[in-house]
């Protein structure tokens, strides 16, 4: 009896211990399918380029490459587009298409590059180009790039010969080549019924292995049609904490880190670049006090943008007067930002009050948590400055999904008071049409209101080409600031990369969305 009880009392402890030890032993000190060993803070990158991203790509599907987390890996590294937009000059440049032309801005003829091979060894021909466009734009796959760039209208496609393709839009489309620059080319055999997590492309690097949750490995493609990249291999990892990404650069564990901010303690390794993102406040004019244009103007006068840029963003950002930064077709260099004039703001509020506007009506200031560095501080500064101007502002910090219900139509209507949304808009396409169509037209997905006059100006600008197009969009931005005032623009932002001393890379405005590994070289 005595023995038996002793045994039974030992049993649970023994069970628990062996279960715990067993689990650990099974692991053999390695997690899941990890293989390599830690190289102990070596700073020399040898032949492998190590990149650390903010998040794991959800998928590497080519027709979702307009998503930052997907595009940053595949665009112009694994896969390539027909036409490429130079992020610095804004000009379209040949990639897998060598030339393109149209007589009527509706049917475009593209000549394709010969001698290009896919990673599976097959040749790139017109059939692949047609299949790529058809799959992304005309299929039922629900590609993100379709919604982002093309909308509901399908494109008519024709294979003229092995290296010539004809693309016809539903109506005149002078920027169709720009739209096509968003499509990354995949082989004809790619599934049209399911999205593909690991695409086959023509890019300078091919995918070797994706260890889900841990890393993506790629290697230089031996049969690449262009210049061979300097690094033979590349590895992507991801860490959501900015300070950890920065630490990986300073400790020599990574060569390039994306999405950093100066608070991440990156020191000399941080390189900032204009990232085409603009921060603005969107005022919904359906209720008081924003139904009075004087109040919307007062908001613009009340915010001290110069000080915000200088104190919160270290003078790297620039004060904004419109929703698109310099470098985007339609940006007006001459449009002045609203000056900071708190007295004028107070006067306008008083004037509106005298005219019967309910200026004490609450303003719900909707802001997305952690959307960009120091957003909470920015929101508090704005709230304070608007309060000083005599307005009642309630700050609502929301997470992404809830914030989106305010960002995109249909907007919530059960709000007590008016809505003012902080929005961060990135125009990566390089043409103002991608901004104004959704932010400023009366029915735009992200536009709270508009006027028939502004809609007409936008329609004219969309159809214009060349210098007329530039002038027409400048007019649109000026008209919004003078007569509509849906927006109070704050700043054009900058991004920051961490770059180790072992490599050399010059970031540009699209580095956050498209990190071309072939442009990275060994530091001299």
């Amino acid at each position: 009896m005595h023995n038996r009880t002793t045994r039974s009392r030992r049993l649970p402890l023994a069970l628990a211990a062996s279960a715990l030890l067993g689990t650990t032993a099974l692991s053999g000190c390695s997690v899941a399918n990890s293989q390599e060993s830690f190289s102990g803070g070596s700073s020399a990158a040898s032949d492998t380029l190590r990149v650390v991203l903010q998040q794991e790509p959800p998928t590497l599907e080519a027709c979702e490459s307009n998503l930052t987390s997907t595009g940053v890996v595949i665009r112009s590294t694994i896969t390539e587009p027909l036409i490429e937009r130079n992020p610095t000059s804004g000009e379209l440049e040949p990639k897998l298409a060598t030339e393109w032309s149209s007589k009527d801005d509706q049917t475009w003829t593209l000549k394709l590059r010969e001698g290009v091979k896919f990673h599976d060894g097959s040749d790139f021909t017109a059939a692949d180009a047609v299949a790529t466009i058809d799959r992304a734009v005309n299929s039922k796959l629900g590609c993100n790039v379709e919604g982002y760039v093309f909308g509901d209208d399908d494109l008519k496609l024709k294979e003229v010969d092995d290296y010539t393709v004809e693309v016809t839009a539903a109506k005149k489309d002078p920027i169709l080549p720009l739209r096509l620059s968003f499509l990354e080319v995949v082989p004809e055999e790619t599934s049209t019924t399911e999205k593909v997590r690991e695409p086959i492309g023509t890019g300078p690097y091919q995918l070797d292995e994706w260890q889900a949750g841990q890393s993506i490995n790629a290697s230089a493609f031996a049969d690449y049609w262009g210049d061979a990249p300097e690094f033979k291999k590349a590895t992507y990892q991801w860490r959501s904490e900015g300070s950890v990404r920065a630490a990986m650069i300073t400790s020599g564990e990574a060569d390039i880190a994306t999405g950093l901010s100066p608070e991440d303690n990156i020191g000399d390794f941080g390189v900032s670049y204009p990232n085409n993102e603009t921060v603005a406040l969107r005022m919904h004019a359906d209720t008081a006090p924003f139904d009075d244009i004087r109040i919307r103007r007062a908001v613009n006068y009340a915010i001290d943008k110069e000080s915000i840029v200088a104190s919160l963003y270290g003078g790297r950002d620039t004060v904004a007067a419109q929703l698109v930064p310099a470098g985007v077709v339609g940006h007006s260099d001459d449009l002045p930002a609203w000056e900071y004039d708190p007295q004028k703001a107070k006067d306008l509020v008083a004037e509106a009050k005298a005219a019967g506007t309910d200026v004490s009506a609450p303003i719900n200031f909707v802001v997305r948590t952690a959307q960009f560095p120091k957003i909470q501080e920015l929101a508090q500064v704005i709230q304070e400055q608007l309060t000083q101007a005599g307005l009642t502002v309630n700050l609502k910090m929301l997470e992404t999904s809830q914030h989106l219900t305010y960002q995109v139509r249909p907007f919530p209507t059960n709000e007590d008071g008016a809505i003012m949304l902080m929005t961060q808009h990135g125009n990566q396409a390089g043409d103002a049409a991608f901004t104004v169509d959704q932010y400023m037209t009366s029915k735009g997905a992200q536009s709270a209101f508009g006027t028939p006059e502004l809609d007409k100006l936008i329609e004219e600008a969309d159809a214009a080409t060349g210098d007329d197009r530039q002038a027409a969009f400048e007019k649109v931005f000026k008209y919004q600031n003078d007569e509509v005032v849906q927006f109070a623009h704050i700043a054009h932002q900058t991004g920051m990369l961490g770059i180790s001393k072992a490599v050399s890379y010059e970031p540009n405005s699209s580095s956050g969305d498209e990190l071309r590994l072939a442009d990275v070289t060994v530091a001299k």
Partner: protein
């Protein structure tokens, strides 16, 4: 014991079902995922197509029926975010979390037993005060702060271990060291308290007067009786870790289920969220049963089946109907012997 087990399983299965239904319904009440997955300027047609493709256009009860039907076919749906099978994603992430939890708890328990026992030998002695200070601090340091400071000291300044990641044995140091603190601190206090009261029991005096060595007194007699509260608290702490150590997994890029769950919540990736919750709920359910079993085996006073049978037998002895279970006398005998041995060992 089997009756006890059966009762525990039935009692724990109900919360499991409630959790699954709750997660299913609540997740869908927090907003339409279409806005997260489609471009902001997506047209209405695209939104309708998206809803239809993911079955979100069906009434919620139909969706739930389909989901439960899927569970019985072991089909947990497809991730909206990655297009992968949701169960595959959850099962891939879970071992990483289990490994981390197991390693952490083994180290925490071993350390806590040593530190707590030594502290209890001389209550209010210098070592007791020191260990009390250390354990209080360990239990209350925020893990986020500790992780960042750990990276700065051990990875950047000293360069001994990698900042993050899962490659190589050295990568385990920072995540485990960060996670060990809270269970260690909590357990030291529990074990110290239990040991202090165990050491003042008469049977310890008896053991000492019999000339048992101090090692034997502490290790064989006192610690065994102090183990029950330790097991309960350690069990609770393990349950917390099995759920995923979100902060540590996020900071160190540890591909565990906590990070996966948070990502699926933020992205409204319903299928993955449900698969993760189901998996961790089942794991916690099993863990709870093991803890209960361990506790019941460790301390017969909480073993209800034995108690119930004892009462039944007592009633049977008084009344005309005789208990027919042949195991009853044996079990009662065993439990009496256990009680006896605890008291007078």
């Amino acid at each position: 014991m089997l009756t006890y087990l059966r009762k525990r399983i039935i009692a724990s299965a109900l919360p499991l079902v409630v959790v699954i239904i709750g997660v299913f319904a609540l997740a869908r009440m927090t907003g339409n995922p279409a806005a997260l997955y489609l471009p902001l300027n997506a047209t209405d047609t695209m939104r309708e197509e998206f809803a239809a493709r993911n079955g979100l256009d069906q009434p919620i009860l139909v969706q739930m029926a389909q989901y439960f039907g899927g569970i019985f076919r072991l089909d947990f749906g497809t991730s909206m975010r990655t297009g992968e099978d949701a169960a595959t994603m959850a099962l891939r992430a879970f071992p990483a979390t289990l490994q981390l939890a197991a390693t952490t708890m083994i180290i925490a328990i071993l350390l806590a037993v040593v530190v707590g026992s030594v502290a209890a030998m001389k209550p209010n002695g210098i070592w007791d005060r020191c260990s009390s200070f250390i354990s209080m601090t360990a239990a209350s340091i925020p893990d986020f702060w500790l992780a960042i400071v750990g990276i700065w000291v051990f990875a950047i300044t000293l360069g001994w271990v990698p900042t993050s990641g899962v490659v190589g044995a050295a990568a385990w140091f920072l995540p485990v060291a960060t996670l060990v603190m809270r269970p260690f601190g909590t357990l030291v206090q529990v074990i110290r308290g239990a040991m202090v009261s165990a050491l003042s029991e008469p049977y310890i005096k008896l053991a000492r007067s019999k000339g048992a060595t101090e090692y034997r007194v502490i290790g064989q007699h006192a610690l065994r009786n102090a183990a029950a509260p330790g097991l309960t608290v350690a069990g609770d702490l393990t349950v917390g870790l099995v759920n995923g150590a979100v902060v540590v997994e996020t900071i160190f890029g540890w591909p565990g289920i906590g990070k996966l769950m948070i990502d699926s919540i933020m992205q409204r990736d319903f299928a993955v969220l449900q698969a993760c919750v189901l998996l961790t709920a089942v794991a916690i359910f099993i863990l709870n049963i093991l803890i209960d079993l361990g506790y019941a085996l460790l301390d017969p006073r909480v073993r209800p089946s034995a108690g119930a049978r004892k009462r039944r037998k007592a009633r049977a002895a008084q009344g005309p109907t005789q208990g027919s279970d042949p195991r009853t006398p044996q079990l009662v005998g065993a439990s009496m012997a256990t009680t006896e041995s605890i008291r007078g060992n």
